[in-house]
Symmetry: C2
Subunit: 99 residues, 2 copies
Amino acid sequence: MTLLRRELGDVLRERRRAQGRTLREISATAAVSLGYLSEIERGEKEASSELLASICGALQLPLSKVLSDVSSRMAESEELAPAVPLPVPTDTVVSASAA
Amino acid sequence: MTLLRRELGDVLRERRRAQGRTLREISATAAVSLGYLSEIERGEKEASSELLASICGALQLPLSKVLSDVSSRMAESEELAPAVPLPVPTDTVVSASAA
C-alpha cells in the first residue's frame, strides 16, 4: 500500500533538490527542526496541515501543486496495485472463460 | 490560510454523502471510531496516512482521486488568497507607476 506521507515526502524532497536548496535552509525558513523535516521527506513522520503549509511556503510552492504531484504519483502506483478492485465487465469474463 | 485537513474533510464528507452512506457505515468499514471519523470530516483532526487509506478504501475511492479533488479546491482558495506571493513582472510595475 502506497502511503500518502511517503509520496508527499518524495515530492517535497524532489522539489527542494530541484531548487538546489538544503534541508537546513528549508527547515530554518519553515521553522521546523532539520531532523523532523528530514523524517517528513523520508515519509517517516506525518506533517500536520500547518507544518505542511509552512514547508510549502518555504519552498514557495502552492500546496495545490504539491498535492497535484502527489495525486499523480499515487495514481501511478494505484495502477500497478489497485487499492480498490477495478470493476471487471461481466461479458469480458464470460468471453475469457469461454475461450 | 486554507488547511489541508479542512479541505480533505470536506471532500471525504461530500463523497460519503453523495454515496448516500452514513458516518456509522464508513466508520465500521474503515475500522475507525464514529467520533474520530466525524472530527476528520470536520477538519478538526489529522488523519494518519494509514487511516486515510482505510477511509478511502471504505468509500471505494482511490486516494489519488481524493487528493486530486483536494488539490482543485486548494487551487481555488489559493487564487482568492495566494499563500505564495505571485511574481509581478517588473515592466508592468513601471508602466503602472508611469501611468
